[in-house]
């Protein structure tokens, strides 16, 4: 692998790791939002 | 909520200090409230049986009162010691018999009792063990491994273990679980001898017949609260089954 190849690989690792984490956190966030909406509905209709 | 004994100790006839006083006790496991604002007062020397279906929080109550777990909120005072702060002081005076025996299966009866006796610094331990084994009818098996004991014998030995340090407050959590009729009867006989009027006893069970036999007071625990409390002297024993199901039935959803 060329020198630039290693450089590219190094940066790829950084951004894939950070991006992966942020995507995972974002997904969890939307699951939470959905769950809140569901509970809200439940409370309304359950009244 | 808990019957008419909300009055302070001084007003109770007999004027004895309360052995147990609980005010607004909550115990959460995560977000699940196993005990929900429970109040309880018990004079020392009395025998209280707490009835309740599975999941009512009886075991949790016993575990809080016997210092095994801390309360989430509320005042708890047992034997004059505030919990959880003074748990260390209380432990010496508390005996617990539960459906778990707390016995080491790879040790003999004698070794088990010697171990616990030393932990409690019981004086004249050997004589004490001999007397207790006599009392629970296990003298002949003193040097047998606990693992060779039947369930009933283990439970009797666990009674001896709980009595080693002569506690003045005893908690019995479903002690009849898994015992056959014969063993239950022996356990009952031992319990009768414990009820001397000097010792405070709290028993939990879901078995109405066994629970009513020798107690002074009854309570019904449902959904983490005591919903019924009465003195056995004034209790309508024949109608108690109906009373119990009336209280439990209202909350049948809890069980499912």
């Amino acid at each position: 692998m060329s020198e630039l190849g290693f450089l590219f690989a190094g940066y790829a690792v950084v951004w894939v790791a950070l991006g992966g984490y942020i995507i995972a956190v974002g997904r969890r966030q939307s699951t939470l939002r959905r769950e809140i909406a569901r509970l809200e509905r439940e409370f309304r209709t359950g009244e | 909520m808990t019957g008419g004994d909300g009055s302070s100790a001084g007003e109770v006839s007999g004027g004895r200090q309360p052995a147990i006083r609980v005010r607004g006790l909550w115990k959460y496991f995560d977000h699940f409230p196993a005990i929900r604002g429970l109040d309880l007062e018990l004079e020392s020397g009395r025998f209280l049986t707490v009835f309740g279906p599975n999941g009512a929080g009886k075991t949790t109550l016993i575990r809080v009162l016997s210092t095994q777990i801390g309360p989430t909120q509320g005042e708890v005072e047992v034997g004059g010691c505030a919990l959880p702060g003074q748990a260390d002081r209380l432990r010496r005076r508390v005996g617990v018999i539960s459906h778990n025996t707390y016995l080491y299966p790879n040790l003999t009866a004698n070794e088990n009792l010697t171990f616990f006796g030393r932990m409690y610094r019981v004086p004249d331990l050997d004589d004490r063990i001999t007397a207790l084994l006599e009392e629970v009818g296990l003298s002949g098996r003193r040097d047998d491994l606990v693992r060779t004991y039947s369930r009933g014998m283990q439970q009797r030995l666990s009674i001896a273990r709980a009595l080693l340090h002569d506690p003045d407050i005893m908690f019995l959590d479903e002690p009849y679980t898994g015992l056959d009729q014969h063993a239950s009867r022996m356990l009952r006989d031992v319990l009768k001898t414990l009820h001397t009027g000097e010792r405070t006893l709290v028993l939990t069970t879901h078995n109405l017949e066994q629970g009513l036999e020798m107690c002074d007071e009854v309570a019904i625990q449902v959904r983490g609260r005591l919903v019924f409390r009465e003195n056995v002297a004034t209790l309508d024993k024949a109608g108690f089954e109906q009373t119990y199901f009336d209280h439990v039935g209202k909350d049948f959803r809890w069980d499912s």
Binding site: - | G70, Y102, L107, F115, M119
Partner: protein, 225 residues
């Protein structure tokens, strides 16, 4: 001292139970032998590098075998919910910790001694020459191992996959002990005097003191509910 004698009562209870079944120490020993045997296939006998690898084999065997004992330490307390009975006793939590620590140390130490013997026979080590310094290293390593191990054993005992979790928790934290023990015993096996391993022994002592103190302080939280 009442404090230590109470702790000894707990350790004695564990030892009596162990002498009866011999389950723990025997399985530890067998496992330790097997580790040495397996590792041995990776070493070309007679090579000059052999001497560099040998202490590593020895301490790998010690660590892997030792963890078996720690695994059992609190599982024994879970049968019949004995741990609850123990916690009901009117003694400070640190007494219970010390009791379990003494027991674990004694089991690990006896395993270590026999594994050393096995090792010295297989690799033609003149045990008489190195017995004392190696023994000292073994004692120091055992204390550190049991100090942290007893705490982690209590931490992991309530978990479903406690065996795996205990190994995963303990091994990385054990790195300084294994390293110091392997390096210092390497010196001894090379025929150097004990003083040449002074730095490593000091590291072991520091590790033992720090983690024994920390574990005594934290044990309360590992068992409370």
């Amino acid at each position: 001292m009442g404090f230590l004698s109470q702790a000894w009562v707990i350790a004695r209870k564990d030892i009596i139970g162990e002498l009866r079944t011999r389950e723990t120490v025997l399985s530890m020993l067998l496992f330790g032998f097997l580790v040495i045997l397996i590792f041995n296939f990776g070493i070309e006998p007679g090579l000059r590098e052999e001497n560099l690898v040998k202490p590593g084999v020895l301490w790998a065997a010690f660590t892997f075998a030792g963890i078996l004992g720690l695994n059992r330490s609190f599982i024994a307390e879970k049968e019949n919910d004995c741990l609850q009975g123990l916690l009901l006793c009117p003694v400070d939590r640190s007494v219970i910790y010390l009791g379990k620590f003494f027991g674990n140390s004694i089991f690990t130490l006896s395993m270590g001694l026999v594994v050393f013997l096995f090792f010295s026979v297989l690799y033609n080590v003149d045990l008489l020459q190195v017995a004392l310094p190696l023994g000292l290293i073994l004692v120091l390593a055992t204390i550190g191992f049991a100090a942290v191990g007893t705490l982690f054993s209590a931490v992991s005992v309530g978990l479903k996959s406690r065996d795996v979790i205990l190994s995963i928790l303990l091994f990385p934290v054990m790195v300084p002990v294994v390293l110091a023990a392997a390096k210092s015993s390497g010196r001894i096996l090379d025929g150097d005097p004990l003083s040449s391993a002074g730095l490593w022994l000091a590291l072991l002592v520091v590790y033992d003191v720090i983690f024994l103190t920390v574990a005594i302080m934290l044990f309360d939280y590992a068992v409370e509910e």
